[in-house]
């Protein structure tokens, strides 16, 4: 200082004595203008071990959810097809009484006549196959030959038609048997069987087809079809940037080393925005919210789609990556994702098989047979995502933002499949440490492409809804 620079000067001393501690009362309005510019009251600063504990708890919670959902879905790890073909008379086409004279066609009282037409011809996926079969629960193996039986059936049907017993109204030409062209019929059957009964040849149809050529017609399997996967996002804005001690130093440096060279007026830079890079990790339980529709013309045959078990819809989602600060309000987030999803639902397929029963041995009811099917899937996805985050409100302790982005996810089990998702989320973030920010982020993930089951009966969009919880760590 100047103690050695100058001898005592009474003139200076008087000024120093009177002005060194000079005080002046400021206007109260000044505080009102200063206060909003002060760093906000932060969230409770957690020590690093506590932050670590929070992160570990989040991960354990996620793993727990994942394991629980895996347990509940063990039974549906592979696509299950419950083929319980019951003679549900959901839609009775006709009911006719067949006179006693028709009973002599069969020797047993419990014989039933089943006229099957598996699927309509107007479905390009379901090859029409019109057959007639006589089913005998006890004597089918004792018949002399399929050809003989076919001839018998033909004769029987001709008689019924001639007598007006079998109504021609709903059956039309499609139902008319074509025994005269055996080769063609066999070709159709074979084609159908090849398409719909890949691995079920050892199963026995409850309505064992008399001819032996159609044993498997009713045994349709729905292979495990890959569905969905998703991803959510989230993100966060740095609420209290002025708390970052590494962000600015000009003020401090001035005091420690007064080596300031001013080369002209400078704008104030006290609020210069840093652009930190953060890494983030998050986990969330998710609910699969599939959009399921029948595929094209099959809409006439697929119905009663219903979720089997709400608990099955629970999945798990985790992600990690980097967040880049683009500006005061925008951030870019990118990272890797892992998704575990489940879903199971049942539906009915109306076949073109006409079932005629004779419950009282005096007549028969006829109806279309219904197949009860189950679509179940447990899928694992690895993906990558990119989100744009816009912070629209920054309060004292919480910041609010919206997040939009896209994600590509690849199914890594079962049938490999790539799914694309559009993610939208609303997030709230709060500082929990010097460099750590907690965020919660309800997210909706919309599937941009569709999946289908093995029979292409259904179109499935594996949408998801989740509640994302994660932590951001500032890197610089």
């Amino acid at each position: 200082m100047n103690a050695l620079d100058n001898e005592k000067d009474p003139f200076e001393d008087i000024f120093r004595d009177k002005l060194f501690d000079f005080e002046s009362e400021p206007n109260d309005k000044l505080w009102k203008s200063i206060e909003p510019q002060l760093p906000a009251n932060p969230a409770r600063i957690l020590p690093y071990w506590q932050m670590t504990a929070v992160a570990v708890l989040l991960l354990l919670t996620g793993i727990g959810v994942y394991l629980m959902s895996s347990l509940t879905n063990n039974e549906t790890e592979e696509t299950q097809i419950e083929k319980t073909i019951e003679n549900e008379l959901n839609k009775t086409i006709n009911s006719e009484v067949i006179s006693e004279k028709n009973n002599k066609i069969s020797n047993k009282e419990n014989k039933s006549i089943i006229i099957e037409k598996k699927y309509l011809q107007n479905s390009d996926k379901l090859v029409p196959s019109t057959t007639e079969s006589l089913v005998s629960n006890s004597n089918i193996q004792q018949e002399n030959s399929a050809e003989n039986k076919r001839t018998t059936l033909k004769n029987q049907q001709n008689r019924l038609k001639a007598e007006g017993v079998i109504p021609p109204v709903n059956l039309g030409d499609d139902v008319q048997p074509e025994f005269s062209d055996g080769a063609k019929q066999n070709g159709l059957v074979n084609q159908y069987s090849k398409k719909y009964t890949p691995n079920k040849s050892n199963k026995t149809n409850r309505f064992a087809v008399f001819s032996g050529k159609h044993e498997n017609i009713d045994e349709e399997s729905v292979n495990n079809t890959s569905v969905e996967a998703t991803k959510f996002s989230d993100q966060r804005y740095i609420l209290l940037n002025t708390l970052d001690g590494k962000a600015y130093h000009p003020f401090t440096n001035h005091f420690r080393t007064p080596k300031i060279k001013y080369r002209g007026p400078k704008p104030t830079v006290y609020f210069k925005e840093s652009k930190p890079v953060e890494w983030y990790v998050s986990a969330m339980p998710l609910i699969n919210y599939y959009t399921i529709t029948a595929n094209g013309n099959d809409a006439n045959y697929v119905h009663k789609i219903a979720v089997n078990d709400e608990a099955d819809r629970l999945g798990f989602y985790t992600q990690a990556g980097l967040v880049f600060t683009l500006s005061d309000k925008f951030k870019l987030r990118t990272g890797l994702t892992f998704t575990k999803t489940n879903h199971s639902f049942s539906y009915q397929v109306r076949t073109d098989s006409l079932v005629v029963q004779s419950p009282d041995n005096t007549g028969v009811d006829a109806s279309f047979a219904e197949l009860n099917k189950v679509y179940a899937q447990s899928a694992y996805y690895l993906g990558t995502k990119i989100d744009l985050q816009y912070t629209f409100l920054r309060g004292e302790s919480l910041s609010h933002y919206v997040n939009v982005g896209v994600e590509g996810a690849y199914k890594i089990n079962g049938s490999k499949q790539l799914n694309a998702f559009a993610n939208i989320a609303y997030g709230i973030t709060r500082q929990i440490g010097d460099h750590a920010y907690l965020f919660v982020e309800p997210t909706y993930s919309y599937s941009l492409n569709q999946q289908s089951d093995s029979n292409s009966l259904l179109l499935i969009k594996p949408n998801k809804i989740g509640f994302n919880i994660g932590i951001n760590f500032k890197l610089k």
Binding site: S24, I34, L38, L243, Y270
Partner: protein, 183 residues
């Protein structure tokens, strides 16, 4: 009631109540410093607000809370210097020569002047003179430090101090004060 050091620590955690208490503790002292370094009360208020925002935003860098008094004073002084560079350096200061003080009844002893009266004299100094006079005479910086702070040579600082004192003496002489002895 928190003592000064506890107050600093609370402010370092951005506790709003502590910030308010801290402000009330230092507001008069720091406004006094601002008034010395500026020509008008409006300029003083500008520096005052800017300095307090800087103080609260950087108080977490204060490693020794015991030194907070000197630290906040330096904060204001450096803010005033920045303000001088940004706003005052290129202004013309012609009005000082035109000051007319015709009160012959002023006491002839400098020490009898009040702080406000002395402040009025300093306020009327040209900006550069006022900066050097404050830094050297009142706040205790030497000419080398002042040269660095203001971006001038050490000799310039010395000559500006000399001229500042000369202007003050001239002004005081017009007030009838010729003796600078302490009472």
């Amino acid at each position: 009631m928190l003592n000064e050091q506890e107050l600093v620590k609370a402010c370092q955690k951005n506790d709003r109540k502590a910030q308010t208490a801290f402000y009330n503790l230092y507001k008069s002292k720091l406004m006094g410093v601002c008034r010395r370094y500026t020509r008008t009360p409006e300029e003083a208020e500008d520096i005052y607000q800017e300095a307090f925002v800087k103080i609260f935003n950087n108080i977490h860098t204060l490693e020794n809370p015991k030194a907070v008094g000197a630290w906040v004073r330096k904060a204001v002084i450096h803010t005033a210097i920045n303000y001088y560079h940004a706003n005052l350096k290129f202004q013309q200061n012609t009005e000082y020569e035109n000051i007319v003080l015709s009160n012959d009844d002023y006491p002839n002893l400098l020490s009898t002047l009040t702080s406000e009266e002395l402040l009025a004299l300093i306020n009327k100094l040209p900006d550069g003179y006022r900066m050097v006079f404050n830094l050297y005479v009142i706040d205790g910086y030497n000419h080398a430090e002042i040269g660095e702070l203001l971006g001038v040579s050490e000799n310039t600082s010395k000559s500006q101090l000399s001229r500042a004192k000369e202007l003050l003496r001239k002004q005081l002489k017009q007030l009838g004060i010729v003796s600078y002895e302490r009472t």
